[in-house]
Protein backbone atom coordinates (compact mmCIF):
# COMPACT_ATOMS: atom_id res chain seq x y z
CA UNK A 1 0.00 0.00 0.00
CA UNK A 2 1.26 3.43 -0.82
CA UNK A 3 1.93 5.59 2.10
CA UNK A 4 1.77 9.32 2.15
CA UNK A 5 3.54 10.93 5.02
CA UNK A 6 2.53 13.95 6.99
CA UNK A 7 4.68 16.20 4.88
CA UNK A 8 2.55 17.44 2.09
CA UNK A 9 3.59 16.94 -1.46
CA UNK A 10 3.03 19.88 -3.67
CA UNK A 11 5.57 22.44 -2.71
CA UNK A 12 7.90 23.45 -5.51
CA UNK A 13 6.26 20.89 -7.70
CA UNK A 14 5.08 21.54 -11.25
CA UNK A 15 1.52 22.68 -11.43
CA UNK A 16 -1.01 19.96 -12.28
CA UNK A 17 -1.64 19.54 -15.95
CA UNK A 18 -5.42 19.70 -15.72
CA UNK A 19 -7.39 21.55 -13.12
CA UNK A 20 -9.14 18.56 -11.57
CA UNK A 21 -6.48 15.89 -11.46
CA UNK A 22 -3.11 15.99 -9.85
CA UNK A 23 -0.16 14.77 -11.81
CA UNK A 24 2.17 12.29 -10.12
CA UNK A 25 4.96 13.81 -8.21
CA UNK A 26 8.01 13.99 -10.36
CA UNK A 27 10.63 13.57 -7.73
CA UNK A 28 10.60 11.94 -4.34
CA UNK A 29 10.43 8.47 -2.85
CA UNK A 30 8.02 6.03 -4.48
CA UNK A 31 5.94 5.84 -1.34
CA UNK A 32 4.75 9.34 -2.05
CA UNK A 33 3.42 8.64 -5.51
CA UNK A 34 -0.29 9.30 -5.20
CA UNK A 35 -2.36 6.33 -6.18
CA UNK A 36 -5.93 6.95 -7.09
CA UNK A 37 -8.29 4.78 -5.04
CA UNK A 38 -11.67 6.37 -5.59
CA UNK A 39 -12.48 7.70 -9.03
CA UNK A 40 -15.46 9.96 -9.52
CA UNK A 41 -16.47 10.93 -13.03
CA UNK A 42 -19.25 13.23 -14.20
CA UNK A 43 -21.18 12.52 -11.05
CA UNK A 44 -24.52 14.19 -10.46
CA UNK A 45 -27.01 13.70 -7.64
CA UNK A 46 -30.53 15.06 -7.64
CA UNK A 47 -33.42 14.88 -5.21
CA UNK A 48 -36.80 14.53 -6.90
CA UNK A 49 -35.37 16.11 -10.03
CA UNK A 50 -33.75 19.03 -8.21
CA UNK A 51 -30.00 18.74 -8.70
CA UNK A 52 -27.82 18.81 -5.57
CA UNK A 53 -24.63 18.87 -7.58
CA UNK A 54 -23.50 17.95 -11.07
CA UNK A 55 -20.44 17.51 -13.28
CA UNK A 56 -18.13 16.45 -10.50
CA UNK A 57 -14.98 14.67 -11.59
CA UNK A 58 -12.18 14.03 -9.15
CA UNK A 59 -9.75 11.41 -7.90
CA UNK A 60 -9.29 10.50 -4.26
CA UNK A 61 -5.87 9.20 -3.36
CA UNK A 62 -5.12 6.18 -1.25
CA UNK A 63 -3.96 6.83 2.27
CA UNK A 64 -4.46 10.58 1.97
CA UNK A 65 -6.88 12.97 3.60
CA UNK A 66 -9.08 14.76 1.11
CA UNK A 67 -11.18 17.66 2.34
CA UNK A 68 -14.39 18.86 0.70
CA UNK A 69 -14.96 22.53 1.44
CA UNK A 70 -17.53 25.05 0.35
CA UNK A 71 -20.71 26.72 1.61
CA UNK A 72 -23.77 24.78 2.76
CA UNK A 73 -26.04 23.38 0.09
CA UNK A 74 -23.42 22.79 -2.56
CA UNK A 75 -23.71 19.01 -2.44
CA UNK A 76 -20.68 18.02 -0.38
CA UNK A 77 -22.63 15.68 1.90
CA UNK A 78 -24.58 14.26 -1.06
CA UNK A 79 -21.31 13.52 -2.80
CA UNK A 80 -19.98 11.87 0.33
CA UNK A 81 -23.02 9.65 0.78
CA UNK A 82 -23.04 8.60 -2.84
CA UNK A 83 -19.63 7.00 -2.28
CA UNK A 84 -21.03 4.41 0.17
CA UNK A 85 -24.45 4.42 -1.52
CA UNK A 86 -26.20 5.82 1.50
CA UNK A 87 -28.08 7.85 -1.11
CA UNK A 88 -30.01 4.60 -1.79
CA UNK A 89 -31.90 5.21 1.44
CA UNK A 90 -33.23 8.61 0.45
CA UNK A 91 -36.53 8.64 -1.38
CA UNK A 92 -36.43 10.36 -4.74
CA UNK A 93 -32.66 10.56 -4.82
CA UNK A 94 -31.04 9.69 -8.11
CA UNK A 95 -27.35 9.39 -8.85
CA UNK A 96 -25.77 9.59 -12.28
CA UNK A 97 -22.18 9.19 -13.38
CA UNK A 98 -19.40 6.93 -12.29
CA UNK A 99 -17.85 6.11 -8.93
CA UNK A 100 -15.31 3.37 -8.59
CA UNK A 101 -13.28 2.19 -5.63
CA UNK A 102 -10.17 0.19 -6.51
CA UNK A 103 -11.58 -0.28 -9.98
CA UNK A 104 -14.89 -1.66 -8.74
CA UNK A 105 -17.98 0.16 -9.91
CA UNK A 106 -19.85 1.32 -6.81
CA UNK A 107 -23.03 1.98 -8.73
CA UNK A 108 -23.24 -1.57 -10.07
CA UNK A 109 -26.77 -2.72 -9.15
CA UNK A 110 -25.50 -6.24 -8.46
CA UNK A 111 -22.90 -4.99 -5.99
CA UNK A 112 -23.19 -6.27 -2.42
CA UNK A 113 -23.92 -2.96 -0.69
CA UNK A 114 -23.23 -4.39 2.76
CA UNK A 115 -19.75 -5.49 1.68
CA UNK A 116 -19.18 -2.04 0.19
CA UNK A 117 -20.18 -0.33 3.43
CA UNK A 118 -17.92 -2.60 5.35
CA UNK A 119 -15.01 -1.34 3.26
CA UNK A 120 -16.20 2.27 3.34
CA UNK A 121 -16.94 3.51 6.85
CA UNK A 122 -18.85 6.68 7.58
CA UNK A 123 -18.79 9.16 10.46
CA UNK A 124 -21.63 11.61 10.88
CA UNK A 125 -21.80 15.17 12.07
CA UNK A 126 -23.53 14.35 15.32
CA UNK A 127 -21.99 11.54 17.36
CA UNK A 128 -24.49 8.68 17.13
CA UNK A 129 -23.45 5.68 19.19
CA UNK A 130 -26.26 3.17 19.65
CA UNK A 131 -28.05 3.42 23.02
CA UNK A 132 -26.25 0.30 24.20
CA UNK A 133 -23.07 -0.43 26.11
CA UNK A 134 -19.71 0.64 24.70
CA UNK A 135 -18.82 -2.98 24.06
CA UNK A 136 -22.10 -3.78 22.29
CA UNK A 137 -21.61 -0.75 20.04
CA UNK A 138 -18.40 -2.22 18.69
CA UNK A 139 -19.51 -5.82 18.85
CA UNK A 140 -22.74 -5.50 16.89
CA UNK A 141 -21.22 -4.56 13.53
CA UNK A 142 -18.63 -7.34 13.90
CA UNK A 143 -21.24 -9.96 14.73
CA UNK A 144 -23.36 -8.68 11.86
CA UNK A 145 -20.48 -9.40 9.52
CA UNK A 146 -20.10 -12.91 10.84
CA UNK A 147 -17.47 -12.67 13.56
CA UNK A 148 -18.55 -14.53 16.70
CA UNK A 149 -15.33 -15.76 18.30
CA UNK A 150 -15.18 -14.10 21.73
CA UNK A 151 -11.38 -13.73 21.86
CA UNK A 152 -11.26 -12.34 18.34
CA UNK A 153 -14.10 -9.92 19.12
CA UNK A 154 -12.34 -8.69 22.25
CA UNK A 155 -9.00 -8.19 20.55
CA UNK A 156 -10.60 -6.30 17.65
CA UNK A 157 -12.53 -4.10 20.06
CA UNK A 158 -9.41 -3.38 22.06
CA UNK A 159 -7.44 -2.56 18.93
CA UNK A 160 -10.09 -0.17 17.62
CA UNK A 161 -10.39 1.58 20.98
CA UNK A 162 -6.62 1.94 21.16
CA UNK A 163 -6.57 3.32 17.63
CA UNK A 164 -8.92 6.12 18.61
CA UNK A 165 -7.19 6.72 21.93
CA UNK A 166 -10.23 5.77 24.02
CA UNK A 167 -8.72 2.65 25.56
CA UNK A 168 -6.90 4.33 28.47
CA UNK A 169 -10.01 6.37 29.26
CA UNK A 170 -12.65 3.64 29.23
CA UNK A 171 -11.11 0.17 29.22
CA UNK A 172 -12.39 -0.52 32.73
CA UNK A 173 -16.00 0.28 31.89
CA UNK A 174 -16.75 -1.26 28.53
CA UNK A 175 -20.19 -2.24 29.75
CA UNK A 176 -21.19 1.30 30.66
CA UNK A 177 -23.79 2.96 28.39
CA UNK A 178 -22.17 4.62 25.39
CA UNK A 179 -24.46 7.64 25.73
CA UNK A 180 -22.93 8.41 29.12
CA UNK A 181 -19.65 9.32 27.40
CA UNK A 182 -18.84 12.94 26.58
CA UNK A 183 -19.54 14.25 23.08
CA UNK A 184 -15.93 13.95 21.98
CA UNK A 185 -15.64 10.46 23.40
CA UNK A 186 -18.86 9.48 21.66
CA UNK A 187 -17.52 10.69 18.34
CA UNK A 188 -14.28 8.77 18.86
CA UNK A 189 -16.35 5.71 19.75
CA UNK A 190 -18.20 6.14 16.44
CA UNK A 191 -14.88 6.29 14.63
CA UNK A 192 -13.81 3.14 16.50
CA UNK A 193 -17.08 1.50 15.47
CA UNK A 194 -16.23 2.20 11.85
CA UNK A 195 -12.58 1.13 12.28
CA UNK A 196 -13.49 -2.14 13.95
CA UNK A 197 -14.64 -3.44 10.56
CA UNK A 198 -11.19 -2.63 9.12
CA UNK A 199 -12.40 -0.48 6.26
CA UNK A 200 -10.20 0.94 3.53
CA UNK A 201 -11.98 4.27 3.26
CA UNK A 202 -13.47 6.56 5.91
CA UNK A 203 -16.05 9.15 4.96
CA UNK A 204 -16.47 11.92 7.52
CA UNK A 205 -19.30 14.41 7.38
CA UNK A 206 -18.24 17.38 9.50
CA UNK A 207 -17.06 15.10 12.30
CA UNK A 208 -15.99 17.94 14.60
CA UNK A 209 -18.69 20.52 14.08
CA UNK A 210 -20.94 19.29 16.92
CA UNK A 211 -18.07 19.13 19.41
CA UNK A 212 -16.57 21.66 21.79
CA UNK A 213 -13.16 23.10 20.78
CA UNK A 214 -11.15 20.78 23.06
CA UNK A 215 -12.86 17.57 21.90
CA UNK A 216 -12.70 18.86 18.36
CA UNK A 217 -8.94 19.15 18.68
CA UNK A 218 -8.67 15.60 20.01
CA UNK A 219 -10.77 14.21 17.16
CA UNK A 220 -8.78 16.23 14.66
CA UNK A 221 -5.52 14.75 15.96
CA UNK A 222 -7.13 11.34 15.67
CA UNK A 223 -8.07 11.93 12.02
CA UNK A 224 -4.54 13.11 11.37
CA UNK A 225 -3.22 9.87 12.85
CA UNK A 226 -5.35 7.83 10.42
CA UNK A 227 -3.43 9.22 7.48
CA UNK A 228 -1.56 6.53 5.58
CA UNK A 229 -3.60 3.67 7.01
CA UNK A 230 -6.97 4.77 5.69
CA UNK A 231 -8.18 6.89 2.85
CA UNK A 232 -10.08 9.70 4.52
CA UNK A 233 -12.60 11.97 2.85
CA UNK A 234 -13.76 14.74 5.14
CA UNK A 235 -16.42 17.38 4.66
CA UNK A 236 -15.66 20.37 6.80
CA UNK A 237 -16.75 23.96 7.21
CA UNK A 238 -13.71 24.67 9.32
CA UNK A 239 -11.22 25.98 6.77
CA UNK A 240 -8.39 26.13 9.27
CA UNK A 241 -9.00 22.48 10.06
CA UNK A 242 -9.01 21.50 6.39
CA UNK A 243 -5.79 23.40 5.95
CA UNK A 244 -4.17 21.67 8.94
CA UNK A 245 -5.02 18.08 8.15
CA UNK A 246 -5.82 17.62 4.47
CA UNK A 247 -3.47 16.54 1.70
CA UNK A 248 -5.96 17.40 -0.99
CA UNK A 249 -8.85 19.79 -1.00
CA UNK A 250 -11.85 20.14 -3.26
CA UNK A 251 -13.76 23.40 -3.31
CA UNK A 252 -17.47 23.37 -4.18
CA UNK A 253 -19.75 26.27 -4.98
CA UNK A 254 -23.34 26.69 -6.10
CA UNK A 255 -23.65 27.63 -9.75
CA UNK A 256 -26.97 27.79 -11.57
CA UNK A 257 -28.73 26.37 -8.51
CA UNK A 258 -26.61 23.25 -8.42
CA UNK A 259 -23.44 22.50 -6.57
CA UNK A 260 -20.36 22.09 -8.67
CA UNK A 261 -16.68 21.42 -8.21
CA UNK A 262 -14.74 24.63 -8.73
CA UNK A 263 -11.24 23.56 -7.90
CA UNK A 264 -9.40 20.46 -6.79
CA UNK A 265 -5.76 20.49 -5.87
CA UNK A 266 -3.18 19.85 -3.22
CA UNK A 267 -4.51 21.39 -0.08
CA UNK A 268 -1.65 23.86 0.30
CA UNK A 269 -1.92 24.87 -3.33
CA UNK A 270 -5.64 25.44 -3.04
CA UNK A 271 -5.27 27.61 0.03
CA UNK A 272 -2.13 29.48 -0.88
CA UNK A 273 -2.32 29.82 -4.62
CA UNK A 274 -5.87 29.11 -5.74
CA UNK A 275 -6.39 29.20 -9.48
CA UNK A 276 -9.99 30.23 -9.39
CA UNK A 277 -11.08 33.59 -8.09
CA UNK A 278 -14.08 32.09 -6.26
CA UNK A 279 -11.73 29.78 -4.38
CA UNK A 280 -9.49 32.69 -3.52
CA UNK A 281 -12.43 34.70 -2.25
CA UNK A 282 -13.77 31.76 -0.20
CA UNK A 283 -10.53 30.66 1.44
CA UNK A 284 -9.70 34.26 2.28
CA UNK A 285 -13.08 34.67 3.91
CA UNK A 286 -14.42 37.18 1.41
CA UNK A 287 -17.26 34.97 0.19
CA UNK A 288 -19.35 32.17 1.55
Amino acid sequence: MTKSTGSEPGQNKPAPATPFTVSPIVAGPTCCVPECQIRIEDLAVSYKGVPAFKDVTLDIYRGCITAFIGPSGCGKTSLLSSINRLTDMIAGCSVEGLISIDGQNVRDPTLDVRALRRRVGMIFQKPNPFPLSIRRNLEMPLREHGLTNRAELDSRIEKALKDVGLWPEIHGRLDAPALALSGGQQQRLCIARALVLEPAVLLMDEPCSALDPLSSGVVEDLIESLRGRYTVVIVTHNLAQARRIANYAAFFWVKERAGTLIEFDFCRQLFEAPKHELTAAYVNGQRG
Partner: protein, 292 residues
Protein backbone atom coordinates in the same frame (compact mmCIF):
# COMPACT_ATOMS: atom_id res chain seq x y z
CA UNK B 1 -43.92 54.76 31.70
CA UNK B 2 -47.28 55.58 30.17
CA UNK B 3 -46.06 55.63 26.60
CA UNK B 4 -47.25 52.23 25.45
CA UNK B 5 -50.78 51.83 26.73
CA UNK B 6 -51.33 48.65 24.71
CA UNK B 7 -48.95 46.76 26.95
CA UNK B 8 -50.02 48.37 30.18
CA UNK B 9 -51.44 45.50 32.20
CA UNK B 10 -52.18 47.72 35.13
CA UNK B 11 -55.06 49.43 33.33
CA UNK B 12 -58.36 48.32 34.90
CA UNK B 13 -59.67 46.99 31.59
CA UNK B 14 -56.67 44.74 30.94
CA UNK B 15 -56.65 43.57 34.51
CA UNK B 16 -60.33 42.68 34.34
CA UNK B 17 -59.89 40.74 31.12
CA UNK B 18 -56.97 38.88 32.55
CA UNK B 19 -58.87 38.04 35.67
CA UNK B 20 -62.01 36.84 33.88
CA UNK B 21 -59.99 34.63 31.55
CA UNK B 22 -58.21 33.09 34.49
CA UNK B 23 -61.49 32.57 36.31
CA UNK B 24 -63.03 30.86 33.28
CA UNK B 25 -60.08 28.51 32.95
CA UNK B 26 -60.17 27.63 36.65
CA UNK B 27 -63.94 27.13 36.52
CA UNK B 28 -63.68 24.71 33.60
CA UNK B 29 -60.92 22.78 35.31
CA UNK B 30 -62.92 22.66 38.51
CA UNK B 31 -65.96 21.22 36.71
CA UNK B 32 -63.88 18.43 35.18
CA UNK B 33 -62.08 17.59 38.40
CA UNK B 34 -65.33 17.92 40.35
CA UNK B 35 -67.16 15.46 38.14
CA UNK B 36 -64.44 12.89 38.54
CA UNK B 37 -64.27 13.39 42.30
CA UNK B 38 -68.05 13.18 42.59
CA UNK B 39 -68.06 9.91 40.67
CA UNK B 40 -65.26 8.52 42.80
CA UNK B 41 -66.91 9.70 45.99
CA UNK B 42 -70.25 8.23 44.92
CA UNK B 43 -68.61 4.86 44.23
CA UNK B 44 -66.73 4.91 47.52
CA UNK B 45 -69.85 5.94 49.42
CA UNK B 46 -71.98 3.15 48.03
CA UNK B 47 -69.43 0.47 47.34
CA UNK B 48 -66.43 0.77 49.66
CA UNK B 49 -68.12 -1.04 52.53
CA UNK B 50 -68.59 -4.15 50.40
CA UNK B 51 -65.16 -4.37 48.85
CA UNK B 52 -62.97 -6.65 50.90
CA UNK B 53 -60.95 -9.80 50.37
CA UNK B 54 -64.04 -12.00 50.56
CA UNK B 55 -65.76 -9.94 47.85
CA UNK B 56 -62.78 -10.45 45.54
CA UNK B 57 -62.47 -14.18 46.21
CA UNK B 58 -66.00 -15.61 46.37
CA UNK B 59 -68.54 -16.44 43.68
CA UNK B 60 -71.66 -14.35 43.13
CA UNK B 61 -74.88 -15.55 44.76
CA UNK B 62 -78.52 -15.01 43.75
CA UNK B 63 -77.61 -13.44 40.35
CA UNK B 64 -74.94 -11.30 41.93
CA UNK B 65 -77.07 -9.59 44.56
CA UNK B 66 -74.76 -11.02 47.18
CA UNK B 67 -71.49 -12.89 47.17
CA UNK B 68 -68.32 -11.80 45.42
CA UNK B 69 -66.88 -11.38 41.95
CA UNK B 70 -64.07 -13.95 41.80
CA UNK B 71 -65.20 -15.67 38.56
CA UNK B 72 -65.92 -12.29 37.00
CA UNK B 73 -62.41 -11.09 37.78
CA UNK B 74 -61.00 -14.36 36.43
CA UNK B 75 -63.00 -14.06 33.20
CA UNK B 76 -61.99 -10.41 32.80
CA UNK B 77 -58.31 -11.24 33.21
CA UNK B 78 -58.55 -14.21 30.83
CA UNK B 79 -60.29 -12.09 28.19
CA UNK B 80 -57.60 -9.44 28.65
CA UNK B 81 -54.89 -12.07 28.35
CA UNK B 82 -56.28 -13.31 25.03
CA UNK B 83 -56.69 -9.77 23.74
CA UNK B 84 -53.12 -8.78 24.62
CA UNK B 85 -51.53 -12.03 23.48
CA UNK B 86 -53.12 -11.51 20.07
CA UNK B 87 -52.93 -7.73 19.77
CA UNK B 88 -49.37 -7.11 21.02
CA UNK B 89 -47.45 -9.10 18.38
CA UNK B 90 -49.84 -8.07 15.59
CA UNK B 91 -49.65 -4.45 16.70
CA UNK B 92 -45.88 -4.46 16.92
CA UNK B 93 -45.51 -6.06 13.50
CA UNK B 94 -47.91 -3.61 11.87
CA UNK B 95 -46.23 -0.64 13.56
CA UNK B 96 -42.85 -1.85 12.30
CA UNK B 97 -44.28 -2.15 8.80
CA UNK B 98 -45.73 1.36 8.98
CA UNK B 99 -42.71 3.12 10.46
CA UNK B 100 -39.82 1.17 8.94
CA UNK B 101 -40.95 -0.33 5.67
CA UNK B 102 -43.42 2.15 4.25
CA UNK B 103 -43.01 5.81 3.56
CA UNK B 104 -45.30 8.08 5.50
CA UNK B 105 -46.52 9.73 2.32
CA UNK B 106 -46.58 6.44 0.40
CA UNK B 107 -49.84 4.90 -0.75
CA UNK B 108 -49.62 1.67 1.23
CA UNK B 109 -48.76 3.46 4.48
CA UNK B 110 -51.56 5.95 3.99
CA UNK B 111 -54.09 3.23 3.21
CA UNK B 112 -53.20 1.24 6.31
CA UNK B 113 -53.13 4.42 8.39
CA UNK B 114 -56.55 5.48 7.14
CA UNK B 115 -58.10 2.10 7.79
CA UNK B 116 -56.63 2.15 11.31
CA UNK B 117 -58.09 5.56 12.03
CA UNK B 118 -61.50 4.45 10.76
CA UNK B 119 -61.24 1.26 12.79
CA UNK B 120 -60.35 3.25 15.91
CA UNK B 121 -63.54 5.27 15.48
CA UNK B 122 -65.89 2.33 15.05
CA UNK B 123 -68.37 2.20 17.97
CA UNK B 124 -67.73 -0.75 20.22
CA UNK B 125 -71.23 -2.13 19.69
CA UNK B 126 -70.45 -2.49 16.01
CA UNK B 127 -67.18 -4.23 16.84
CA UNK B 128 -69.21 -6.52 19.10
CA UNK B 129 -71.62 -7.38 16.30
CA UNK B 130 -68.71 -8.10 14.01
CA UNK B 131 -67.07 -10.25 16.69
CA UNK B 132 -70.27 -12.16 17.19
CA UNK B 133 -70.79 -12.76 13.47
CA UNK B 134 -67.16 -13.63 12.76
CA UNK B 135 -65.71 -15.32 15.84
CA UNK B 136 -68.80 -16.74 17.54
CA UNK B 137 -70.82 -17.82 14.53
CA UNK B 138 -68.60 -18.08 11.49
CA UNK B 139 -65.56 -19.53 13.26
CA UNK B 140 -67.84 -21.47 15.60
CA UNK B 141 -66.26 -20.28 18.85
CA UNK B 142 -69.68 -19.59 20.37
CA UNK B 143 -70.01 -17.30 23.36
CA UNK B 144 -66.54 -17.75 24.78
CA UNK B 145 -63.64 -16.02 26.44
CA UNK B 146 -61.63 -16.69 23.29
CA UNK B 147 -64.19 -14.95 21.08
CA UNK B 148 -64.43 -12.03 23.52
CA UNK B 149 -60.66 -11.67 23.73
CA UNK B 150 -60.28 -11.77 19.95
CA UNK B 151 -62.99 -9.14 19.55
CA UNK B 152 -61.26 -6.91 22.09
CA UNK B 153 -57.97 -7.45 20.26
CA UNK B 154 -59.61 -6.03 17.12
CA UNK B 155 -60.79 -3.08 19.17
CA UNK B 156 -57.49 -2.18 20.80
CA UNK B 157 -55.29 -2.88 17.76
CA UNK B 158 -55.64 0.58 16.18
CA UNK B 159 -54.62 2.47 19.32
CA UNK B 160 -51.81 0.00 19.99
CA UNK B 161 -50.46 0.28 16.45
CA UNK B 162 -50.65 4.06 16.41
CA UNK B 163 -48.79 4.53 19.71
CA UNK B 164 -46.13 1.96 18.81
CA UNK B 165 -45.73 3.48 15.37
CA UNK B 166 -45.25 6.97 16.77
CA UNK B 167 -42.83 5.55 19.33
CA UNK B 168 -40.77 3.99 16.54
CA UNK B 169 -40.94 7.15 14.45
CA UNK B 170 -39.58 9.17 17.36
CA UNK B 171 -36.42 7.09 17.43
CA UNK B 172 -33.83 9.38 15.80
CA UNK B 173 -32.99 8.53 12.19
CA UNK B 174 -29.29 8.82 12.90
CA UNK B 175 -29.23 5.33 14.38
CA UNK B 176 -30.86 3.88 11.28
CA UNK B 177 -28.38 5.77 9.11
CA UNK B 178 -25.32 4.76 11.10
CA UNK B 179 -26.47 1.13 11.15
CA UNK B 180 -27.00 1.31 7.41
CA UNK B 181 -23.54 2.86 6.97
CA UNK B 182 -22.04 -0.02 8.96
CA UNK B 183 -23.60 -2.49 6.56
CA UNK B 184 -26.00 -3.81 9.20
CA UNK B 185 -29.35 -5.30 8.28
CA UNK B 186 -32.67 -3.64 9.08
CA UNK B 187 -33.65 -6.62 11.21
CA UNK B 188 -30.60 -6.28 13.46
CA UNK B 189 -31.05 -2.59 14.10
CA UNK B 190 -34.77 -3.11 14.64
CA UNK B 191 -34.30 -5.85 17.21
CA UNK B 192 -31.29 -4.45 19.04
CA UNK B 193 -31.89 -0.72 18.91
CA UNK B 194 -35.21 0.54 17.59
CA UNK B 195 -37.64 -1.75 19.43
CA UNK B 196 -35.83 -1.49 22.81
CA UNK B 197 -35.79 2.30 22.49
CA UNK B 198 -39.46 2.36 21.50
CA UNK B 199 -40.43 -0.22 24.12
CA UNK B 200 -41.84 2.31 26.62
CA UNK B 201 -44.15 3.64 23.91
CA UNK B 202 -45.21 0.10 23.07
CA UNK B 203 -45.98 -0.59 26.71
CA UNK B 204 -47.80 2.71 27.13
CA UNK B 205 -49.93 1.87 24.08
CA UNK B 206 -50.62 -1.54 25.54
CA UNK B 207 -51.72 0.05 28.82
CA UNK B 208 -54.07 2.41 27.01
CA UNK B 209 -55.47 -0.55 25.11
CA UNK B 210 -55.92 -2.54 28.31
CA UNK B 211 -57.72 0.40 29.88
CA UNK B 212 -60.15 0.52 26.99
CA UNK B 213 -60.59 -3.25 26.96
CA UNK B 214 -61.27 -3.48 30.69
CA UNK B 215 -64.03 -0.93 30.52
CA UNK B 216 -65.61 -2.51 27.46
CA UNK B 217 -69.17 -3.76 27.75
CA UNK B 218 -70.94 -3.58 24.42
CA UNK B 219 -68.38 -5.60 22.47
CA UNK B 220 -68.34 -8.33 25.09
CA UNK B 221 -72.07 -8.81 25.65
CA UNK B 222 -72.30 -10.45 22.21
CA UNK B 223 -69.06 -12.37 22.32
CA UNK B 224 -67.96 -13.62 25.71
CA UNK B 225 -71.45 -13.75 27.12
CA UNK B 226 -73.16 -13.55 30.52
CA UNK B 227 -72.27 -16.71 32.37
CA UNK B 228 -71.01 -15.89 35.86
CA UNK B 229 -69.50 -19.27 36.69
CA UNK B 230 -65.74 -19.68 37.08
CA UNK B 231 -64.48 -20.37 33.53
CA UNK B 232 -62.79 -23.74 33.03
CA UNK B 233 -61.25 -23.03 29.62
CA UNK B 234 -60.90 -20.34 26.98
CA UNK B 235 -63.89 -21.83 25.19
CA UNK B 236 -66.17 -21.29 28.19
CA UNK B 237 -68.38 -18.30 28.30
CA UNK B 238 -67.28 -15.78 30.91
CA UNK B 239 -68.71 -12.54 32.25
CA UNK B 240 -66.41 -9.51 32.14
CA UNK B 241 -66.59 -7.06 35.02
CA UNK B 242 -68.18 -4.27 32.99
CA UNK B 243 -70.86 -6.68 31.76
CA UNK B 244 -71.41 -7.71 35.35
CA UNK B 245 -71.94 -4.09 36.41
CA UNK B 246 -74.34 -3.54 33.52
CA UNK B 247 -76.29 -6.66 34.35
CA UNK B 248 -76.55 -5.91 38.06
CA UNK B 249 -77.72 -2.39 37.39
CA UNK B 250 -80.20 -3.03 34.61
CA UNK B 251 -81.48 -6.58 35.03
CA UNK B 252 -81.16 -7.54 38.68
CA UNK B 253 -83.40 -5.83 41.18
CA UNK B 254 -81.43 -5.18 44.35
CA UNK B 255 -78.09 -5.62 42.65
CA UNK B 256 -77.10 -1.98 43.11
CA UNK B 257 -74.84 -2.48 46.09
CA UNK B 258 -72.71 -5.07 44.38
CA UNK B 259 -72.76 -3.09 41.15
CA UNK B 260 -71.23 -0.16 43.03
CA UNK B 261 -68.64 -2.40 44.63
CA UNK B 262 -67.71 -3.96 41.27
CA UNK B 263 -67.49 -0.53 39.67
CA UNK B 264 -65.17 0.56 42.44
CA UNK B 265 -62.92 -2.44 41.75
CA UNK B 266 -62.95 -1.62 38.04
CA UNK B 267 -62.09 2.06 38.62
CA UNK B 268 -59.30 1.07 41.01
CA UNK B 269 -57.85 -1.26 38.37
CA UNK B 270 -58.10 1.45 35.71
CA UNK B 271 -56.40 4.03 37.93
CA UNK B 272 -53.57 1.61 38.62
CA UNK B 273 -53.15 0.86 34.91
CA UNK B 274 -53.25 4.54 34.01
CA UNK B 275 -50.64 5.27 36.66
CA UNK B 276 -48.37 2.65 35.16
CA UNK B 277 -48.92 4.09 31.66
CA UNK B 278 -48.08 7.62 32.81
CA UNK B 279 -44.96 6.42 34.60
CA UNK B 280 -43.81 4.53 31.52
CA UNK B 281 -44.48 7.46 29.21
CA UNK B 282 -42.47 9.66 31.59
CA UNK B 283 -39.61 7.23 31.49
CA UNK B 284 -39.74 7.17 27.70
CA UNK B 285 -39.57 10.95 27.63
CA UNK B 286 -36.62 11.27 29.98
CA UNK B 287 -34.86 8.54 28.08
CA UNK B 288 -35.23 10.41 24.83
CA UNK B 289 -34.04 13.63 26.42
CA UNK B 290 -31.01 12.03 27.94
CA UNK B 291 -30.29 10.26 24.68
CA UNK B 292 -30.42 13.46 22.67
Amino acid sequence: MRESRAFDLSSPRAAWRDLSLQAAAWFAAAIVAGMFLWLLFDLLWHGAARVDWTFLTTTPKSSGRSGGIAPILASTLLILFVAIAVAAPLGLATAVLLSEYTRREGRLGQMIGLSLDVLAGVPSIVVGLFGNAFFCVWLGLGFSILAGGLTLACMILPILIRTTESGLRQVPDEWRLSAEALGMSRATILIHVLIPVAAPALIAGLMLGIGRAMAETAALVFTSGYVDRMPASFLDSGRAISVHIYDLTMNVAGGDKNAYASALVLIALLIIINGIAVALADRALTRRVSAA
